[in-house]
């Protein structure tokens, strides 16, 4: 599945990874307060990214590694 964000074509796993990376950076200045929740959310998004990344790889290589 491919999404178009700001003119860039991104796979759904890339959207999750991008969100994760940016959210982790943004959360740092406020990590001792509200930022901590965003930091946790970034980690959850990362795991979602992995699921879609691996699913995409397996669907491309149905015969496995």
């Amino acid at each position: 599945m491919i999404m178009k964000i700001l003119g860039f074509k991104l796979k759904i796993s890339e959207v999750f990874f991008l969100f994760s990376g940016i959210a982790m950076l943004v959360s740092l200045p406020w990590i001792s307060g509200l930022g901590f929740n965003l930091w946790l959310l970034a980690k959850v998004a990362y795991f979602m990214g992995i699921i879609f990344f691996v699913a995409n790889l397996i669907s491309k290589n149905k015969h496995g590694v």
Partner: protein, 331 residues
């Protein structure tokens, strides 16, 4: 920076184990793949030999440093990758070395046997390669996981296991990719097999970082220490994710594209620059968060971050030198 020898030696041990573990794991996967792709049998055998050499080199280095550490020095402190502090006592580290001793002995016997077959009987080595890599991966997984051993199994122990184990899939695999890229540079038929395998190693790296994230959840929020090292680790982890998403995934496509005839290539040659930057960022980032694990830096975040950026530029310069030399040998 507070530098001491035990920390440095434990870092080298972790590094060697990560590379040996990665080469054993991916070597095993490659041998399984080779069974289904008989057309490229010769190429697979050559790549398996490269993997075996990387494995042998890192294993011998590990055994040397492990012997040194277990017999003379092993007092050190440990930090989580993400700067979230948790201090195993020396007693736990000592217990880890003791528990590991039997596995290291078995491992070293297999290493010697592997090297013997690799040098004197290649046919037999290839016949046994799959089993050899599998057993060695299992042994390394145990050794790397119980480097710190608590008297009882609890969340902290699970943290140490996951935190050490993930290095096989992250740091080890990143170094392995670089070595495989450089070792197959001159041979297009090897490149075809190796490059098509890189997306799977990338998946391994993503999963490895996920394991580290999972380990951190086990010790939160008590172990969260907002030090400059924590902020550096978090920033570097974010950069790894962004670099992996925006560059590394496209690098895999670029590498496969570079094997096609010039007229049908989608990527421009200038993309090679991006590829080299991505590689430099990746290797320096992983080495940085691994070093932060073992050393204590008494400097500000800005100094740490500027040092990290400097190392990226240095790595880029080294890539450029190696690349020019390799191209010169081709022409």
């Amino acid at each position: 920076m507070e530098f001491n020898l035990p920390d440095f030696i434990r870092l080298i041990i972790q590094l060697c184990l990560a590379v040996a573990g990665a080469s054993a794991f991916w070597g095993f996967v490659l041998t399984q793949r080779a069974k289904r792709d008989l057309v490229h049998k010769n190429e697979y055998e050559k790549i398996v030999e490269i993997m075996a050499k990387i494995f042998a080199f890192s294993s011998v280095l590990f055994l040397l440093f492990w012997f040194l550490a277990s017999n003379f020095i092993f007092q050190a402190i440990s930090f989580a990758h993400e700067g979230i502090k948790i201090d195993p006592t020396n007693e736990y580290i000592r217990a880890g070395f003791l528990a590991n001793a039997i596995f290291v002995v078995v491992f070293s016997i297999f290493v010697l046997l592997g090297i013997k077959y690799l040098i004197f009987n290649k046919a037999k080595f290839h016949k046994l390669a799959s089993r050899f890599f599998f057993i060695q991966f299992l042994l390394i997984a145990i050794i790397i996981s119980i480097q710190v051993l608590k008297p009882s199994f609890n969340k902290e122990q699970l943290f140490f296991i996951l935190h050490n184990f993930h290095s096989i899939f992250t740091l080890g695999s990143v170094i392995l990719i670089d070595i495989l890229y450089l070792s197959t540079f001159r041979n297009n038929s090897l490149k075809l097999v190796v490059y098509s395998f890189f997306p799977w190693i990338s998946a391994g790296i993503w999963i490895g970082l996920g394991l580290d994230f999972a380990s951190v959840f086990l010790i939160l929020p008590g172990a969260l220490v907002l030090s400059p090292q924590f902020f550096l680790s978090q920033t570097v982890v974010s950069i790894i994710i962004l670099n992996g998403t925006l560059l590394s995934n496209r690098v895999n496509d670029y590498l496969l594209d570079s094997l096609k005839p010039v007229e049908v290539r989608k990527f421009q040659t200038s993309f090679k620059q991006i590829f080299h930057w991505s590689g430099s960022i990746s290797i320096v980032s992983w080495l940085t968060i691994s070093s932060v694990d073992f050393f204590k830096f008494n400097v500000s975040f800005l100094v740490l971050f500027l040092s990290y950026i400097t190392f990226i530029f240095l790595a880029r310069a080294v890539y450029e030198i190696i690349n020019r030399r390799m191209i010169a040998t081709l022409t």
